[in-house]
Point group: C2
Chain length 477, copies 2
């Protein structure tokens, strides 16, 4: 009975505060009372206030700033659609991937902890349940003292595969743990998938712009990339792809239908279905990269492409990891290889033999504990608030003609600068000032997007970030 | 002064006990007094007795059996050389690698903890300093709470590379941490090396027999293998290789000069130098797999091939790991890529992006602590005793005509069965009885060695092992 009353209480508290925000009594940037103080004032429990705040967070009305408290969120400007970046023009022919000479240096800079990290697509450690994971690691070493002494042969740790399968089933993918193989992050999953499917010279269709790790694999395996335009909101352009197929045979298409990187786009359901059917008809494999799948701001989880082609004969390889949501440094990823699964498992033996069981166990334990969904709710709210804040700063500081994506999830922004800008030059200049951005040409096989940059909003807003954005604005012509 | 006296004391104690063993007063299998009891009897410190026992261990006179105490070792029979397996015949032409259909199943069985583990090339957890490593892991998570939250970009953790470089310099390789890249075990190091050096169709010279992980890489990359006979004691046959080069162009040679797998052979210094010169003249890359390099029974460490061709333009890629000596499950390995280093580092980005920093830190810390050499001394003694014990059991139980290698380090035995035996059939039959061995055809591109098996002596001798060896003997025709 008490629980029911408390239920009413947090709902009415949330609605009271929500109204105050809507009518302007609490304004953007205002700090809400601390959870403890409000609980005392209202004579209710701390958890009631927390629930009310969480509800407001999920409704996009307030945001948490780590170690600072709860604040009223800025509302996203209505000009979003007008200023989104323009889609790339279609390419009719595949090309070899040109990897920029400075590739390794740029990637290393992205992860230099001394620099303002607007380049790397990882979230700030303060958003991650690192302490809990550390505790689980310690606990595992105590309970299974010899965990470090054994190889966990492919397909890898059963408990982890079970937890992953359980979550994937909820998204609509009918699969069991037997259809999964654990990998060293999604990166190894992609690498193994490419190697299982292709032979040198094969043509791979990619989103344009596309995650550079994919392009680097295409390059190193001697494949060719066919860049298919991706729309900033709707992602991979199936119509353009179908048109390209009339003149071009394609071995595989690799894409991130749910929150692409760098666009943050989300493919509509009908286009997903259309793509799965089209590729089945043309005998083209799909590699679906869903590392951002859990990070839709509204908490929805569109049906993955694999859900439209289930079974162990599926032509859709599904790839995921916890690098964007839990612990990038644990390197825990997975692949559901469909009809290439046995081959992927075999290649995993030769590529890295086994994954570290200790870290897999820690992640499996965390997923089993039930705290993951609560963590994800908080993370999504924080990232959505960050993305808004970064967008606003970019729109107000960067010169006229700048266009910014309006991602529906994740935490990266794709920024199209006025045409006379060179992102590689901007990268160099900003690096000298201690700031890292990811230059656009990294996201294209042909080094297109020379006037675009990817800016990560994975860190909490701060004066340091504000200054960095202003510095970038000054460097841009 | 006391330390000096204690020094004399343990030397005289060791020599007294050694004499007792030599003249037969203590016989093979006899248990020595417990360390505590002997210390009391002789009114000396426990550490003096421990030092004396360690000295006897290193001299091969006694052995430690975990949780049982110190025992007088059996002396190796003098028939070693007579019964060693015969070297393979030279192949004049390269071939595609045929990977047995049952490959994945065999490898999975090798690591099934329920089975008698005579197949897998890892040592028993009781030989590894797992407790210490676990403690370090816990300590690292406490001191660097966010270690799991960051990518450790290639070339990987600096502290680990420094420790590895320090040890390699001691073996005669002049190199710095800048010439190393950390990898997911030696397996990834091999995989990246192959991918950096070769293109499909290239010919790779391998030892015959050779570690199956190497053959699997050759197969999956569309390369061809040229099997060069390896001598059970002296390893890779440089003369046969040179002869093959007169009719065959070769892109790379991959071998384990110090304690090969499965033979346990060690290349003489003059052959090492000859091979390095020969390959330089023919512009052939060398991939040197040194995962067993620390496990020579006599504690010596022959100069690696890389020491004969130092510098960042070296044509010798050097590969190592801690999987055979510290923690296979941590997946900590490394590669010194020589002239292909930049390419290997770049490929590492696309293949697995980063290694788990936490586990790398734990290994670096252990290496820095100075306990590694002491651990290695104990491990070598234990493994040498195991190898002797297993050899004796095999020689006395297996039918006449059986030949067994006499490895100079490591812990695997290569067993040539009488000609009418089929190792794959033996594998199947023994598996049904809960015993795993590694069938010979896994170690050849052409599935040679059909009457050979690799038997791992990495676990302490026990009744269970004795029974397993007898069961195998019964299954062999």
């Amino acid at each position: 009975m008490l629980a029911v009353m408390e239920g009413f209480l947090y709902e009415s508290l949330a609605s009271e505060l929500g109204n105050a925000i809507d009518r302007g009594a609490l304004r953007a940037g205002d700090r809400l009372p601390s959870v403890r103080r409000l609980a005392e004032e209202r004579s209710c429990s701390v958890s009631t206030v927390l629930e009310a705040y969480l509800r407001l967070e999920n409704a996009g009305k307030i945001e948490v700033r780590p170690k600072s408290g709860h604040f009223v969120r800025r509302r996203t400007a209505a000009i979003d659609i007008v200023v989104e970046p323009r889609p790339a023009r279609p390419c009719t022919r595949p090309s070899k991937v040109t990897v920029n000479d400075a590739y390794t240096e740029i990637l290393a800079a992205m992860r230099d902890p001394e620099l303002v990290p607007l380049g790397c697509a990882t979230v700030d450690p303060s958003y991650l349940p690192i302490q809990q994971l550390n505790r689980i690691v310690t606990q595992v070493t105590r309970e299974m003292t010899t965990v470090g002494a054994r190889y966990e042969s492919p397909p890898g740790l059963l408990t982890l595969r079970r937890q992953v399968a359980r979550r994937l089933v909820e998204t609509g993918i009918a699969l069991t743990e037997d259809e999964l193989c654990t990998t060293i992050g999604a990166t190894e999953a992609l690498s193994l998938s490419f190697r299982a499917i292709t032979k040198p010279g094969d043509v791979i269709a990619v989103e344009s712009p596309s995650y550079f790790g994919i392009l680097q694999n295409i390059q190193s395996l001697g494949l060719r990339a066919l860049e298919i335009p991706a729309h900033p909101r709707h992602g991979f352009d199936v119509t353009a792809f179908e048109a390209a197929l009339s003149t071009q045979s394609v071995r595989a298409v690799v894409l991130a239908p749910t929150v692409s990187n760098p666009l943050g786009s989300v493919m509509p359901d009908d286009q997903r279905e259309r793509l799965v059917k089209l590729t089945r008809r043309h005998d083209i494999a799909i590699i679906e990269d869903e590392v951002y799948g859990e990070l839709m701001f509204d908490g929805s989880r569109p049906r993955p492409l694999r859900a439209f082609a289930s079974g162990d004969d599926s032509h859709v390889i599904h790839v995921g990891s916890v690098s964007k949501t839990l612990a990038p440094g644990y390197r825990v990823g997975w692949v559901a290889g469909g009809r290439w699964h046995a081959q992927i498992v075999r290649m995993k033996y030769g590529q890295s033999l086994a994954c570290p069981a200790l870290l897999g166990m820690a992640v499996a334990e965390f997923l089993a504990s039930g705290g993951y969904d609560r963590h994800l709710r908080r993370l999504r709210s924080a990232l959505e608030a960050n993305v808004d804040r970064f967008r606003e700063a970019i729109m107000s500081e960067f010169p006229e003609g700048t266009r910014v994506s309006a991602p529906r999830g994740g935490f990266v922004l794709w920024v199209e600068l006025p045409a006379n800008n060179d992102a590689l030059v901007l990268h160099e200049q900003s690096l000298r000032r201690g700031i890292v951005v990811a230059p656009g040409p990294l996201f294209s096989a042909r080094q297109r997007f020379s006037n675009c940059v990817r800016i990560s909003a994975g860190v909490p807003w701060s004066d340091r970030i504000a200054t960095a954005i202003r510095t970038l604005a000054k460097l841009i012509r």
